[in-house]
Subunit: 345 residues, 2 copies
């Protein structure tokens, strides 16, 4: 994706060859600023404070975090301390564990002096795979959306609602939920996006910023407004990302997603989750057992007692389709297992 004309990713190796550059997403959309992470503690802080966010990007960042840790101290003990610290930053997104496990599996058998280099290579590989995964999700999702556009006669723009930011900024490049939207836009299909503000962290403004940079038309709305527009027939499809999807197709995503899924279902509007397979947790039978992160109430208000859960679970029965890099599954165990047979016992 280009920012002010310059091709960008959300995470990269700096010119020194070892520190890790990221965009400070807490400053967006007001200011585009990058920051260099030089230790695994820097990475853990960046994840915890949402300097980097979005399940796929968190995974890549954590992988680089292990590489930084091993560069400082390649011992078994430091490896497991760093992995545990990085894992503890955010409990809900499953990519974090997936990426850490992947790097650990690669480096564990190696002699200490080879570990850091191997971790950097594996982190870079995870990043490249994420780009390809998002590209494939874009293609499969676009096919679904085009069908809806054509079924509506193609007389006016396709109107897609999204919640939070599952775009370029949540991944290495392209995005998950936004990938099909970028794809259709680039292919010349008329499309408009309803962007949920997404309180309390307002990630909708990250989505708005991305879409504006790319030229895709959109309107920001309060999280309260999506149901109204669905009822009035002004939404043709809903597409969101996911921080963790369970074996049965329950979709855990940013708080408020469940409410939009209910409204979509009530108005017979297709509801899709765009899900890299790294975010599918085949070990959990259903969403009720996903740990839900509670964040600082001060993200909402400092003046009153408040609660601030960061995610909710959308039951599979409300989900029309799960868009993965291998194609679109129905939200049920059989259909997901058929796409990823190697992942199920």
């Amino acid at each position: 994706v280009r920012v002010a004309g310059v091709p960008r990713r959300t995470i990269w190796l700096e010119a020194d060859g070892w520190s890790v550059g990221v965009i400070d997403q807490t400053k967006l959309p007001a200011v585009f600023e990058t920051v260099s992470l030089k230790s695994y503690h820097d990475v853990a802080r960046a994840i915890r404070h949402m300097v980097v966010r979005g399940a796929p990007l968190i995974g890549v960042a954590a992988a680089y975090g292990l590489a930084l840790a091993l560069r400082d101290d390649p011992s078994d003990k430091h490896l497991s301390t760093a992995a545990a610290d990085l894992f503890a930053t955010r409990p809900t997104a499953i990519n974090l564990r997936w990426a850490l496990d992947r790097v650990k599996a690669v480096v564990a058998p190696l002699p200490p002096d080879e570990r850091a280099a191997a971790a950097y290579r594996e982190a870079a590989r995870i990043a490249e795979e994420d780009v390809e995964t998002c590209r494939a999700i874009g293609e499969h999702g676009a096919r679904e959306l085009v069908r809806i556009y054509q079924a509506r006669g193609g007389s006016q723009p396709l109107r897609v609602l999204t919640h939070c930011n599952a775009g370029w900024l949540a991944t290495v490049d392209i995005g998950t939920a936004l990938a099909p939207i970028y794809r259709l836009f680039d292919d010349g299909v008329p499309i408009r996006v309803w962007v949920d503000e997404t309180r309390p962290r307002n990630q909708g403004y990250l989505t708005a910023w991305e879409l504006r940079e790319h030229g895709v038309p959109f309107s920001v709305i309060a999280d309260n407004a999506g149901g109204h527009y669905m009822m009035r027939g002004e939404v043709d499809a809903v597409i969101v990302g996911s921080d963790r999807t369970t074996a049965n197709g329950d979709v855990c995503n940013k708080i408020g997603t469940y409410l939009k899924a209910l409204a979509a279902f009530d108005n017979e509007i297709p509801f899709f989750a765009a899900v890299p397979s790294s975010t599918i947790d085949f070990s959990l039978p259903e969403g009720a057992s996903i740990p839900i992160e509670e964040r600082e109430p001060s993200e909402l208000t400092s003046d009153f007692e408040a609660r601030n859960p960061a995610f909710d679970v959308t039951p599979a029965r409300l989900v029309t389709g799960i868009v993965t890099e291998r194609g679109v599954a129905r939200a049920d165990a059989a259909s997901l297992a058929a796409l990823f047979p190697e992942r199920v016992g």
Copy 2:
């Protein structure tokens, strides 16, 4: 209701005997400040900019607005200009029309020199009736909530979710949706309130402020979070106000209410609307024909293109009961008509 120990209403005649005092609700919860309205233009501006808000309070304010207009010029022409200007301030709340029609009906037959005094008397009468109406709503609503509390075994506090502010600040005193909550709290029933933030105007903080002044325990949550807590079994009932309820029991209320009603229905949680009969529009068969006010997008954001509908419609099928000053009706035409036979043809 007391504010810092002083008994208060939300609207009153000033010591001069003719100008109209109100609380500037745009300054709350940060600052408690009152303002004097001295012409009907002042009143229209106060309604439009939400210095006063809440359907019942808007009605009373508009009635006083007509009194101020007639004090300046009691002619038929001025009466109808002022009524039209006041009516145009906010299109959704039906009380506005109801209160204006009521004052007009009283003053129209009178000679010009008697009109202003009669309008002041009628406005005061509407205000007194509102207090009594809210008291009765509190009583009927409390009975419903106590039943739920007892059915749950009474072992832990009753947890009630509300959206927007339908409390003391939205009426002359006591409130509509909050009236049963204050009543139960005063009766010693353990109760806790989930307070939706209610973007974009954040009226949830008015509710939080009210509840804190009164000592009722609560937590503010993002509008996104209510569904999550319902799914986790942490909400026992939902109660909201209404700006206009139609003959069939469709409930038009602050944007986002529909989403909470869907989540309550999905989790088998009772959903009540607390509705003074002045907000019931028996002339409209259903909610789809209610005009929905679109407010300035800048209430949401000035940085991006945005849309800002102020209300949505919750279909009667999602509403467990409509709490009126005469008792609780089911959300259907027959049940509402049975409570208010004089209002239906």
